[in-house]
């Protein structure tokens, strides 16, 4: 049933209360009154995993939106209870790799004071709702998806009926004419659209997910009126909760339920349930939505000339190249959204230091209407920046190592923690990502290659979204040695596609040369600089790229 309790003025109290609860659970674990078997589900309910070298705390950043004070709190956690950095994930969250169990209650207390928490960042529940990092700013947006994301968050937090789903459940929502939230790879994907009558509503996708059985979502409803969002999503969840398999963890995601039973059967059941659920929603959700829309009203944009910005572009090649790659079109004249990539040379993809986090907080306050986003591609976005402020921002970013001009380029790689941290990993991903980035930088080819997505996971769970990389890399264990399987042609955005396995895997030291051969083949085969790798791949098929990967077989 709809319950907005966590969002009322008492929401901080609620987070404090949850932190206190966990403090007592930790104390009881340490004094021996709870066994690990009893404690494990309790710690997972609070985002605490035990990884290879340490505990890991996953903190929710709802739809990647965070304010400067909250960012400073994350910096504090990194500095005081970790080793001075945090890892931003593809799910717009942050993970801390080194907390001690005894410190985690203090960390949760600090988060609670900032309105943050780790609730439902693990377990078979509805996880953090994700969205476009440019929400509320993008020039091509139908409307700001964040009020709906917040509505979904409030509804799903502590939702009594959906705490023990067959498996984890991920919802993504996007509103750009261009799709940027990877909705096809989510359990539910929502795309905000306008119908012929000019009303806004949602195109609803279900059954997407990667992992060991990668499947793209399918459209279950072409147009869902805005007011029906919660009852319809609830109907999907209820149908899944009943029909989803619980006998086999690997077949428990809704993607398998949809694949096994068929989309039409699911649709029929969802629609039937929707009628019942619709009747129960008497309007409190709509009142709340109206409040949320007011809360997410656009900031007070300035109207000023951008001459300084143009002058700096003319003067400085480095500034120009950074603005060429790292700015996105804003809906308001004179503004831009700025991507700060966490992919500087030698840096672990997605990591930010406590000092970098504090700088971002301060820049957002001074120049960015106090709005910060964590992007799906493990980068940070300042969504609303007036162009006249960009030269000043750029200077500070350069000093902090946050001005790498590579957003969307071949060195802007998504990589999961892999065997360097993750207890489930079968191989490392971080050093492979770093080697590939270094290699193409050293060859000076990055700009020439253009938009290129490489994604790496350290095991079949696919946290690094390797299936959706134009080139995907999956780390495996072949008889005690790291081995990397390559997939080609994946895409998470406009034309969702699961990459196809190219052939036998490569030992770690052969990955960079192999990728280099594919990229070199692409540069020779493309129609021109405007044809991205993925476009060339679609036009030419896999054969020429496979031949580049496996030259011996091609010549045989």
């Amino acid at each position: 049933m709809f319950d907005a309790r966590p969002n009322t003025s008492s929401n901080l109290d609620y987070y404090r209360h949850r932190a206190a609860q966990f403090r007592s659970q930790v104390a009881r674990r340490l004094d021996g009154s709870l066994t690990e078997e009893e404690f494990r589900p309790l710690r997972l309910m609070n985002g605490v995993y035990l990884q290879l070298h340490a505990y890991m705390l996953r903190v929710a950043i709802p739809y990647g939106t965070i304010n400067p004070d909250q960012m400073r709190t994350l910096a504090l956690l990194a500095q005081k209870w970790d080793k001075g950095y945090g890892h931003f994930t593809t799910r717009q969250n942050i993970q801390f790799n080194w907390p001690k169990l005894v410190d985690i209650p203090d960390m949760l207390d600090a988060l609670a004071e900032a309105g943050l928490h780790a609730i439902q960042t693990s377990g078979n529940t509805i996880r953090n709702v994700t969205t476009d990092a440019f929400a509320g700013a993008a020039a091509d947006e139908v409307m700001d998806p964040r009020p709906y994301a917040e509505l979904l968050r409030l509804w799903s937090t502590d939702h009594g009926e959906f705490q023990f789903l067959p498996r984890k459940f991920k919802i993504a929502i996007s509103a750009g004419a261009k799709e940027r939230a990877v909705i096809a790879a989510h359990d539910i994907g929502l795309r905000i659209v306008r119908n012929d009558a000019g009303e806004t509503g949602f195109q609803v996708w279900i059954g997407g997910g990667l992992g060991r059985t990668p499947l793209l979502g399918q459209v279950v409803r072409e147009f869902l009126p805005e007011a029906d969002l919660l009852p319809y999503v609830e109907a999907i969840l209820m149908t899944y909760n009943l029909a989803g398999r619980r006998d086999n963890k690997y077949k428990a995601r809704i993607k398998i339920t949809v694949a096994e039973r068929g989309l039409d059967v699911m649709r029929e059941e969802i629609e039937a349930e929707f009628i019942n659920r619709r009747a129960v929603f008497t309007g409190v959700d709509q009142k709340l939505l109206a409040d949320l829309k007011a809360q997410y009203a656009a900031p007070n944009f300035r109207h000023e000339p951008t001459g300084d910005y143009e002058a700096e572009r003319a003067k400085s090649g480095a500034f120009r190249s950074w603005t060429d790659t790292n700015l996105s079109a804003h809906k308001v004249e004179g503004y831009a959204s700025v991507t700060l990539t966490l992919k500087a040379p030698g840096v672990t993809p997605g990591d930010a230091s406590d000092e970098q986090m504090r700088l971002v907080a301060s820049l957002a306050e001074r120049y960015g209407h106090s709005d910060i986003r964590i992007a799906h591609d493990q980068n940070i976005v300042l969504p609303h920046v007036h162009k006249s402020d960009l030269p000043a921002i750029y200077r500070e970013l350069v000093e902090a190592g946050l001005a790498t001009a590579n957003a969307g380029l071949i060195s802007d790689i998504i990589a999961c923690p892999g065997m360097d941290y993750c207890a489930l990993a079968t191989a490392r991903s971080i050093p492979i990502a770093q080697d590939i980035a270094d290699h193409f930088r050293a060859r000076g080819l990055e700009d020439e290659i253009g938009q290129f997505n490489i994604r790496i996971s350290g095991c079949i769970n696919a946290c690094g979204h390797h299936h959706l990389g134009h080139i995907g890399i999956l780390g495996l264990d072949r008889a005690g040695v790291e081995n990397y399987q390559i997939t080609l042609g994946g895409d998470g955005y406009e034309i969702p596609a699961i990459g196809q396995r190219a052939g036998a895997g490569f030992p770690g030291e052969e990955v960079v040369p192999a990728i280099d051969r594919v990229v070199t083949a692409y540069l020779a085969l493309r129609d021109g600089p405007q044809e991205r790798f993925i476009d060339a791949y679609r036009r030419l098929g896999a054969a020429p790229f496979k031949a580049a990967l496996y030259p011996e077989t091609a010549n045989a």
Binding site: H53, L101, M419
Partner: protein, 106 residues
């Protein structure tokens, strides 16, 4: 990291786990725990190793997730045979911190 793995003179093993309070990797020696894998006890006898593993599992107030990991005899004590265990011994490869740094200063 199967617990059904049985050590033998050809495939010796150590018992390893994570420290409950701190989370770091630890290795068993004579029923107690050390953060130095070189000091770990190397088991070549299946039944003795199984017994020691039961003992390790009974120490749930000190460690989490004890298991047998294949190892080999080295000049400075047991060495890992699988790269996963090598990472648990050394720490992550992306930063020079954690165990690498500690080993150097020690």
């Amino acid at each position: 990291m199967s617990k059904t793995f049985t050590p033998s003179p050809e495939t010796p093993a150590v018992i390893t786990a994570n420290d409950l309070r701190m989370g770091h990797c630890v290795w068993m020696l004579d029923g107690s725990w050390t953060a130095d894998p070189g000091k770990a006890q190397l088991f070549e006898d299946g039944p003795r190793a199984e017994l020691a593993l039961l003992e390790a599992e009974a120490q749930g107030h000190i460690v989490v997730g004890a298991y047998l990991a294949e190892a080999k005899r080295g000049p400075n004590g047991p060495e890992a045979t699988h790269f996963r265990e090598e990472f648990r011994r050394r720490g992550p490869s992306n930063y020079f911190h954690g165990k690498q740094a500690e080993t150097v200063t020690a």
